[in-house]
Amino acid sequence: MGSLTLFQIIVLAILGILFLGIVVAGLRGWSTRRESFLWGFVCFVAAIATLRPKWTTEIANQLAIDRGADLVTYIAVIMMMIGFWMTYMRLRHLRRELTSLVRHIAILEAHDASGQKSIPKESDAERA
């Protein structure tokens, strides 16, 4: 391996910090084991592609793509789309949970015209 360029050093440093963050998040339980593994693997592949750019070109050629950089771009775009979709789905789920919580509180704190709390009777709740 020849000497590293400045760009490679910067990218590898960023990947190293990211990898450290992933490991810490995994150990502290902020992310699941599967998520930690997935993102750790992504960091690892990115580091390999940075260190050995010719390897990506060879793989790209196997897939009938001219340049390794194009292959990396395609994969990055696909991964970003998957990431956006997963984030969107998680957001939807959170919104739904938030709505359930807001609804529950609204029903518990319902007021009638006299300003009294109007918690539905248990018998009514059973009917519903």
């Binding site: 939807r92 709505t99 609204a106 319902a110 007021h111 015209a113 009514d124």
Partner: protein, 232 residues
């Protein structure tokens, strides 16, 4: 107005979802309460005087601590009405566009066991003062419902609806925002609940038109609805 017995009126809960509807809400509540004693206003996290007006005038006031959208507010109102023992639930907009006289018309087919759900249709009744742009958006919604939901309706986004207790128990609105109207059509189709469209008249005022959906809003509704259909 078709006559309803007092027992039916007492058993009917009118759910009014309201978000920043201060200017119109008081008269809407008074109008509805004059005919139906159980008016449930769901204040959807308003930051004007909607909550204060509702607490003063409505039979029941529920407040969403934060804004969750009209679909969420309707579902909250439905659940509360069922818990209070409602036999019939009507959804009624807070902006003054609906007429109380149309509620008995919506309830009659349900009372006669002809169906479990009735949906108001402005295009079956007399249409007055409807701007051309709004008509176009509503017609597009009807076409969309026909193609995507596979249900033939004349008015797909009318907030005036009536449910029997059994129907309200089966309806679970998951679209928090405005896409709930299309979702309700889906739920009706999937549950096999018999429904009918009933002619109603919409009052188009400057205020209600301002509160209504724009073409841009319609695209957002379509997006939320399609995503919801794919993943829910």
């Amino acid at each position: 107005m078709a006559s309803l017995s007092s027992a039916v009126r007492d058993a009917t809960f009118v759910v009014v979802p309201a978000y920043n509807e201060g200017p119109a809400l008081e008269s809407v509540i008074h109008e509805v309460r004059a005919a139906f004693p159980n008016v449930v206003v769901v204040d959807d996290g308003s930051n004007d005087d909607t909550g204060a007006i509702s607490r003063r005038c409505a039979t029941y006031t529920l407040r969403h601590m934060i804004n969750r959208g009209q679909g969420a507010a309707i579902q909250t109102g439905l659940e509360f009405a069922l818990l209070r023992g409602a036999e019939y639930v009507v959804t009624f907009d807070a902006d003054g566009q609906h007429r109380v006289e149309d509620i008995p018309r919506l309830l009659c087919p349900i009372l006669n066991d002809e169906c479990e759900i009735t949906i108001g249709s402005r295009f079956l009744g007399e249409v007055t003062d409807l701007p051309a742009s709004r008509r176009l958006v509503l017609r597009a919604a009807v076409l969309f419902t026909r193609v995507v939901n596979g249900v033939k309706l004349t008015d797909a986004h009318n907030g005036l609806r009536a449910f029997s207790r059994q129907a309200a128990q089966k309806i679970r609105i998951r679209q928090d925002r405005m896409a709930h109207a299309s979702e309700i059509i889906d739920l009706i189709k999937n549950t096999g609940l018999p429904f009918r469209e009933v002619p109603v008249r919409i009052r188009y005022t400057e205020y209600s038109l301002k509160k209504g959906q724009s073409a841009k809003g319609a695209f957002r509704i379509v997006f939320h609805y399609l995503v919801g259909r794919m993943v829910d």
